[in-house]
Symmetry: C2
Subunit: 126 residues, 2 copies
């Protein structure tokens, strides 16, 4: 099995996360080797949080877990694509299904999705 | 218009590239400010090549241009999602439509797509 190239990104690989049915792109995150191992063992997406500098089980706080259906790798072995079943209202900490909820118009970014949940209710501790 | 956060990635933002109709993820690349400006001016996807350290018009050599249909930005303003019409046989320099043509099986990455073009015929100069 060809190895994931963690070295190029100093221990991290970017991970694109996509809904396994609609193919909507939900978010982008990073994995280190530990997150990669945990994701495979549990079937739930784990990432490396660059801001918190540690392992991050997506949904740990919100309950919005991501069940991993498929994992794909790119031609350079340095980027992953996860197809997931997104639990709960969405992947975005602002309450949207996808972090990519704004589209470029002439002179502004326009929200093209509606909020699925109230982040203040979901993230109690922040 | 909220600014793209180029600072966080030392001048570069990751760009996820998706087919505008099927929503298939085709590749991941990076843009600097110049690539961003050129993409908007021309409607064709331009990236920053980290290996060649310079502006890269996708399709310049292969003819497999990407016509930009929509541009979305994530909640942190540091990642872009391009929805494109992919010209030619595909986005991947190995001849596949998507760079993510291998899926994880038990102990190996299995190719789950077939080649769309012969890279030796398309990339003459390499």
């Amino acid at each position: 099995m060809q190895r994931i190239d963690f070295a190029k990104g100093n221990g991290l690989v970017p991970v694109i996360v996509q809904d396994y049915r609609s193919r909507e792109v939900l978010m982008m995150a990073y994995m280190n080797r530990e997150a990669w191992t945990k994701t495979q063992k549990t079937g739930k997406a784990h990432y490396y949080s660059r801001s918190r500098r540690g392992l991050w089980l997506k949904g740990e706080e919100s309950g919005h877990y991501q069940e991993v259906k498929d994992i794909l790798i790119d031609c350079d072995n340095d980027t992953l694509l996860l197809r997931v079943r997104q639990r709960g209202g969405g992947a975005c900490h602002l309450g949207y299904r996808s972090c990519f909820f704004r589209k470029k118009a002439k002179r502004q970014w326009l929200a093209v999705a509606k909020r699925m949940f109230n982040p203040e209710e979901v993230y109690k501790t922040k």
